[in-house]
């Protein structure tokens, strides 16, 4: 695998750290007027999702990580794996386990396209589109006339996710949800 020197560091660069693939988020050059230069990197560990920081001496190298982001359509689950298909016309299928799926399980919908991150060809994470439309499976009955303001109530989606919705929302309504915050945006 290729190496990257500190002067090649940039946001989005995928590299190996302590055996895990990581993605650089932010790079800072540090140099006292009369002193040694360092490069401080904020990164996300793609296996655990955790964000960390590490400082490198200028000129130090990191190993590139064989990581690829691929658009894939969600097909079905067999209970153990969640199966996705490439959208590039190859129809190639890949199964992601619960660990790779993580919280994205809350926003899963058949025929929707997700960003699947492959490490050495195997999925390590699945990212939902920023907005997704899902129906309400269960919620208290809507209050007629209360269409704008007022409080909120929980609504359960078919995926098991629970979102706060306005009181006028009924079972069966389609909701637009921001998957980054898990918040209701509007009725779809």
């Amino acid at each position: 695998m290729a190496n990257y020197a500190t002067n090649e560091f940039k946001g989005g660069l995928k590299f190996m750290l302590d055996g895990d693939p990581c993605s650089m988020l932010d790079i800072e050059h540090i140099k006292p007027g009369k002193g040694q230069a360092f490069t401080r990197v904020k990164f996300r560990n793609l296996s655990t999702g955790r964000v960390g920081e590490k400082t490198f001496k200028v000129g130090e190298n990191v190993e590139a990580a064989d990581v690829m982001d691929t658009d894939m359509e969600y097909l079905y689950t067999d209970g153990e794996f969640w199966h996705f298909m490439k959208t590039d016309g190859s129809f190639e299928q890949i199964g992601a386990d619960a660990k790779a799926l993580g919280d994205t399980s809350k926003w899963l919908k058949e025929q929707e396209v997700y960003l699947v991150t492959l490490y050495n060809g195997a999925p390590i994470s699945v990212t939902a589109p920023n907005f997704i439309v899902l129906p309400v499976a269960e919620t208290d009955p809507g209050l007629k006339g209360d269409t704008a303001q007022g409080g909120s109530k929980p609504a359960t989606l078919p995926t098991g996710a629970v979102v706060r919705v306005p009181l006028f929302v009924n079972e069966g309504d389609l909701l637009k949800i921001d998957t980054r915050t898990g918040e209701y945006v509007s009725r779809a």
Binding site: N7, E28, H29, I30, K31, P32, G33, K34, G35, Q36, A37, F38, R40, G52, E53, K54, T55, F56, K57, V58, E60
Partner: protein, 314 residues
């Protein structure tokens, strides 16, 4: 680049010139491009070639600071001098760095470092408004904010602290490397909340072109101070080295260290050594990153905001 910032920069330049002119300090201009460069192992020069015409081709360095030429003027009897001019440092680009920046540098013959410190504070009061200054030795600041004595702590312990603080592979760091890391990762962030701070008595190994003396605990320390404002390193001052032989020795040591680091050798300024031999008056000198000063005056978060065209917008 906002017009308000352009105007503020012009005001600060004008106020700086007024400050020095009224104190009888002479403005000078020395070469930015020269056949000798800084040998400092931790500074990288832009190197270029003089060629064409009737002159033999020659290697030239864009100056990382006007120090050598200004000292040659001092040795020729210029008296107190200041300069506002561009300096160049290769490989330095960040929120607080640009490969080309404006340096304010001045020298005071027959002045002690403490006198220069007072003048530096007076200048900052003039340009940024009056404020109080806290003084801490390098040792005191490390004990207070890093939790260790920079002179007494073993290298192994320094390395352990560096790993804990930054995750760096510390085996490759020497003593000064460890101290630089702790300064930038622990000390400078702590200084952010302290306003104007004068840090002095740096370890002798970080003396660069400063004289060396002993502190109250018998540690060899550099006669040097740095001025920080809100954690931003703004000024670096020395009781200047005047010994020609010591200067020649440091040039050689620098190039030996450059070799060890795999960096190219730099032509040392033999004429500076000759000037010191002829006699440089006892003097103190200071360099101020002028763009950073503009940053503070404009409450800007990065150098990019206060330079007309930074490297990010070439």
């Amino acid at each position: 680049m906002q017009l308000a910032i352009l105007k503020k920069r012009a005001e600060l330049l004008s106020a700086t010139r007024h400050f020095f002119n009224s104190r009888g300090v002479l403005e000078v201009n020395t070469p930015v491009l020269a056949p000798a460069g800084s040998t400092d192992p931790l500074l990288d020069s832009f190197v270029t070639q003089l060629e064409g015409g009737s002159t033999p081709s020659q290697l030239l360095y864009l100056q990382t600071s006007p120090e050598f030429y200004m000292k040659r003027l001092l040795a020729e009897g210029s008296g107190a001098i200041y300069q506002l001019g561009p300096c160049f440092r290769n490989g330095e680009l960040s929120q607080r760095h640009n490969p080309e920046f404006l340096m304010l540098e001045w020298y005071r013959p027959d002045w002690k470092l403490s006198e220069l410190e007072a003048e530096c504070c007076a200048l900052f009061d003039e340009l940024l408004g009056v404020a109080s200054y806290q003084r801490r030795t390098y040792r005191e600041a490390f004990i207070e904010f890093v939790g260790l004595d920079p002179f007494k702590t073993s290298l192994a312990e320094l390395r352990r602290t560096c790993v804990a603080v930054s995750g760096i592979d510390a085996e490759q760091l020497d003593r000064d490397g460890c101290l630089d890391l702790l300064l930038s990762h622990k000390l400078e962030p702590a200084l952010k909340n302290l306003g104007r701070v004068i840090l002095y008595e740096f370890p002798a190994s970080q003396a660069a072109l400063a004289q060396i003396h002993q502190d109250a605990y018998g540690n060899p320390v550099a006669s040097r101070f740095e001025l920080y404002i809100n954690g931003l390193e703004l000024a670096n001052a020395y009781q200047e080295l005047t010994s020609a032989s010591e200067q020649a020795t440091r040039f050689e040591a620098d190039n030996a260290q450059r070799h060890a680091l795999g960096k190219p050798q730099v032509t040392a300024d033999a004429k500076l050594v000759a000037a010191l031999e002829k006699g440089l008056p006892d003097c103190s000198g200071i360099a101020v990153g002028f763009d950073r000063l503009v940053m503070l005056a404009c409450d800007a978060a990065s150098l990019d905001e206060v330079q007309t065209f930074s490297a990010y917008r070439w």
